[in-house]
């Protein structure tokens, strides 16, 4: 008997492994519950940026204490620290701006609304008006006559944390390194940008890649780079190259604790429980040519919470000032709990919707190649229930913002002719209409109560990743709609690690993958073109390693032609006509359908310590977008903060 003990040990061990894998499924929503908001960009092909904007503080600037940093062990002074949640999940790995693996959400995020706390981009994107405002750059950028190159100047005041000036050479060298070492911006933009060169120390020229006709391959992507990619110091980059011997893997894997930066904050402390940035009081941005002062908080701190519930509890306790996470029923925090908590908009939908979580039809599934079936399912879905359950009303309804390909920001909404597609903009929950549609198409109900197409029962599986609770709630509503019209839709939730491998590799599994959810692009300088490209362009259809979109395999040459023409289109009327036509195609063919709107970032603030956060109609000009005072033009909000008077 005793001889079996080691075997038992082995079994226990296996059980431990298996249990630790299984148990967490019962966990209340863990960190990655919510779908990552795809960070691509907002408005129409943007006009060249306006001149340097003025931050308008609503109250006199706070006196900024500049004494020595707090000693380890002593508490960070509450009145000098701005606390966040929902940005940083898990420990910080590195401080290398070239790497995309640093998991350093407070300092590094090169995206359409880039995070500019530590590293800076030439321009800042403002998702509210769709414009790019100069940061390191001096004044607006400009195309040359034949629209093949962009030129912009750098601010004279801009300097690195070591005191040396930011030069055009730094910009050029950063691009060269991005390409050489295959960084994310390098890989992403090298098909659109040919070279970036220094004309003189203050002037940068960005040459576009040209197509066979000598035109820029994609002008949108060229200027998108200017608010997306950081400028990194040439001297430090060379130092990094020297110590990694030009090896790309080592170059990207370097922890870069010695990195030189140009932004207002840098590393103060990071461990498995928190990350704290401290202000650089020599930050160049206090020069009159930029902000004219330092940002108000001396510290930006982010405690690493392990799920949304813990983050919400901390927000309620006043331990978080800016919350970038989904707080279910956020209005209860002020209506029921009477806490000084608010969102960007005072009433539902509370946030500015920016991306369109979408259900895709697998065009290869039996019967889903039939428009009547796709349309019947899409118009039968009760979207109000999805918005109420999955988003607790933190999404505009389709009555407020009728469906199209645009997100709810005013800039995008203005880009298509709403009256031309009014008849196509279904609002959902139209069970009778859906039944009639199917009956008319000859897809009748059989003796068992389910519908048959050419003698075969219509039965589908709707799916999304397990644990993404808002998406799961939405998928359940889709399944219910199917049942209501006689189409047997069941649900299935694989783990994300499995799901994402399946969804990005055509052909999709022939079982369990008929109707499935994925994200679409948010707000950024190439939008809504980028989102439409990802939703409809045939070039992504039926491919492998497809992280871009059109996962259902939809092909339409007319849509492709319009999508390919838009980036070079300069006539606003023609642009609007093209976008309207695309919306028409999308709402007619229904290869996929939007289930709800989702904000670019969640943005809830607790005003028990700090106040004058960005809110709708707060008087700032240009308006500071609700992106947690860290992303794109939202950083301007840090300069407007004041302390609550006690």
């Amino acid at each position: 008997m005793r001889k079996t003990i080691p075997i038992w040990v082995a079994i226990t061990l296996i059980a431990t492994i298996v249990l630790s894998a299984c148990a967490p499924q019962a966990t209340p929503t863990a960190a990655p519950t919510s779908a990552p908001v795809s960070a691509a960009p907002t408005s129409a092909p943007v006009a060249a940026p306006t001149t340097a904007p003025v931050v308008q503080p609503t109250t006199p600037p706070t006196a900024v204490p500049t004494e020595a940093p707090v000693a380890p062990g002593a508490p960070l002074p509450r009145s000098e620290t701005l606390y966040f949640n929902g940005q940083q999940w898990g420990s910080v790995v590195c401080w290398n701006p070239y790497s995309s693996n640093c998991n350093n959400a407070m300092a590094i995020a090169q995206q359409d609304n880039s995070r500019v706390t530590m590293f800076e981009t030439p321009y800042l994107y403002d998702m509210l008006d769709g414009k790019q405002y100069p940061l390191l750059a001096d004044g607006p950028w400009a195309w040359n006559a034949d629209k093949t190159a962009i030129t912009f100047k750098l601010k004279k005041a801009a300097h690195w944390s070591d005191g040396t000036p930011v030069t055009a050479d730094d910009v050029a060298y950063t691009w060269a390194s991005n390409v050489k070492y295959g960084t994310n911006p390098g890989v992403n933009f090298k098909d659109y940008i040919d070279t970036i060169t220094a004309v003189d120390p203050q002037t940068v020229e960005v040459k576009a890649k040209l197509d066979a006709n000598g035109k820029a391959v994609n002008p949108l992507q060229v200027f998108s780079y200017l608010s997306n990619a950081y400028v990194i110091q040439k001297a430090w980059t060379q130092k990094l190259e020297a110590r990694t011997g030009g090896d790309a893997t080592k170059f990207l894997a370097d922890p870069a604790d010695d990195v030189v930066f140009s932004g207002p904050y840098h590393k103060f402390f990071a461990d498995d429980t928190k990350v704290v940035l401290i202000r650089d009081d020599n930050y160049w941005g206090k020069d009159a040519s930029m902000f004219g002062k330092l940002p108000a908080p001396k510290y930006l701190a982010h405690v690493i919470y392990k799920d949304n519930a813990a983050g919400t509890t901390a927000l309620q306790a006043g331990e978080v000032d800016v919350s970038q996470q989904f707080n279910a029923n956020v209005q209860d925090l002020w209506l029921k709990d009477n806490l000084p908590i608010s969102t960007y908009l005072p009433d539902a939908p509370y946030m500015i919707g920016a991306s369109l979580p979408t259900a895709f039809f697998n065009m290869a599934s039996y019967g889903l190649d039939q428009l009547a079936v796709r349309k019947a399912i899409a118009i039968a879905v009760d979207y109000n229930t999805i918005i109420a359950n999955a988003m607790t009303n933190q999404s505009p309804t389709f009555a407020q913002v009728p469906r199209s390909l645009m997100n709810p920001t005013p800039g995008e909404q203005a880009l298509y002719d709403q009256s031309a597609v009014k008849d196509l903009q279904f609002a959902g929950n139209d069970i009778a209409g859906a039944k009639k549609l199917l009956d008319d198409a000859g897809i009748k109900v059989g003796p068992d109560g389910w519908r048959y197409y050419k003698g075969k029962k219509l039965t589908y599986v709707a799916t999304c990743p397990n644990g993404w609770s808002d998406w799961q709630a939405a998928i359940e509503v889709v399944a219910a709609a199917g049942k209501a019209i006689g189409i047997d839709i069941t649900t299935n939730y694989p783990e994300w690690s499995v799901y994402q491998t399946q969804v990005t590799n055509w052909p999709l599994p022939n079982k369990n993958f008929d109707i499935f959810m994925m994200w679409s692009d948010g707000a950024g300088p190439t939008q809504p073109w980028g989102r439409i490209d990802h939703l409809l362009n045939s070039k992504y259809a039926q491919t492998k390693s497809n992280w871009n979109g059109n996962w259902g395999g939809y092909k339409n040459p007319d849509a492709d032609a319009l999508i390919n023409a838009i980036p070079s289109e300069t006539d606003p009327a023609k642009l609007k006509a093209d976008y309207t036509q695309l919306v028409k195609i999308y709402l007619t063919d229904i290869p996929s359908f939007t289930l709800m709107y989702r904000p670019q970032s969640f943005h809830t603030v607790n005003e028990s310590v700090w106040t004058t956060f960005p809110h709708q109609n707060d008087g700032t000009n240009p308006a500071v977008p609700p992106l947690d005072l860290t992303d794109g033009w939202s950083i301007a909000g840090l300069y407007n903060l004041t302390l609550v008077k006690k």
Partner: protein, 334 residues
């Protein structure tokens, strides 16, 4: 002593055999999970990327870097080399952080939380169980149902109850973190006090559940022993109660000791629920995320440590048994 040597060698042999198999399983099992860890990383990087050829390059870069495109045997040797270097390789999900660094930074929190909780829960639980068995009556009638109730509460349920009662409503204890949300760690009274205060809720959420389970086990064992012939005989002999309780306790303890050794062995796996609900630092949540993200080196590294702890704890107990209980040694040495 000859018997003990044979016993020892026998156990050592089994330890080694088990370790080899466990080591193979540590490597194999994570890789049997469906899905692709590199795709998970690429999906994170893919946010906002619009260049499809670029995405393929990124994918291939990481597949080559992590060796997931190599034959499984090559991957195994890579793993063995990394283990022998003591760093377990670089984590996939927290690349380029070495697994050893990840484990090092969280294991102290895990042991600091789990070890005292297991010991305290074990001592209090066993004491209560023995007392209930001995006193019977009212105490037993209250303790048994309460213990059954508490020990069957799911761990996250207990944690949430404590969180809401003492953290949110009464505000006696902080609700999250290993130390004050506004502190930077160092050896100051301020910091240590903060760690102690933050320790309470996760600690008791583990202890309370352990107490219930231990008390039930100890109570049944003690009742069994109390009714054994040798106790009745002792009573007839007029031996005083205190001494009898001593006998009962020692005999009833044996299975409980095995349980203790196993709990201590597996504690490195972390208290997942306590860690998640109180956002307490530790290895459990790291391992959990590693499993979800199919971070093979991290899973293998963490489970290897768990394996070794269980094996060592069990080995130690076996050896102790050989000393404490000659019957076992005699039976095994045959």
């Amino acid at each position: 002593m000859k018997g003990y040597r044979a016993y020892f060698l026998n156990k050592l042999l089994w330890l080694l055999v088990t370790f080899v198999f466990a080591f193979l399983l540590n490597f194999t099992l994570p890789r049997l999970m469906p899905g692709d860890p590199v795709a998970a990383i690429v999906s994170r990087l893919a946010q906002g990327m619009s260049n499809s050829t670029g995405m393929k390059e990124v994918y291939e870069h990481y597949a080559a870097l992590f060796g997931t495109n190599k034959p499984i045997l090559d991957q195994f040797f890579l793993y063995v080399v990394n283990v022998l270097h003591g760093n377990f390789g670089e984590s996939f999900s927290q690349f380029p952080r070495p697994v050893a660094d990840i484990i090092k930074s969280s294991i102290l929190w895990t042991i600091g939380l789990q070890f005292p909780a297991i010991i305290v829960g074990w001592i209090i639980g066993n004491a209560l169980g023995a007392i209930a068995a001995y006193l019977k009556g009212g105490f037993d009638k209250v303790l048994l149902p309460v213990s059954i109730f508490i020990s069957n509460l799911p761990a996250f349920g207990m944690a949430i109850i404590l969180l809401v009662m003492f953290g949110v409503d009464l505000k006696w204890f902080p609700t999250s973190g290993g130390y004050g949300f506004d502190l930077i760690p160092n050896f100051s009274w301020n910091f240590i006090w903060s760690v102690i205060v933050h320790y309470q809720l996760p600690f008791w959420s583990i202890v309370l559940i352990a107490i219930g389970g231990q008390a039930i086990g100890m109570r049944s064992m003690s009742i069994y022993e109390l009714n054994a012939d040798y106790i009745k005989y002792s009573r007839f002999m007029g031996i005083n109660d205190r001494k009898i309780i001593g006998y009962v306790f020692r005999n009833a303890m044996l299975p409980q000791v095995t349980g203790l050794a196993l709990s201590i062995g597996t504690m490195v796996g972390g208290a997942l629920f306590a860690e998640i609900i109180f956002s307490y630092p530790g290895l459990g949540y790291t391992l959990y995320n590693g499993i979800l993200g199919q971070d093979y080196p991290l899973i293998s590294g963490a489970t290897l440590i768990i394996t070794m702890m269980v094996l060592i704890a069990n080995f130690a107990i076996e050896l102790l048994y050989g000393v404490i209980d000659p019957r076992i040694k005699a039976a095994q040495a045959d």
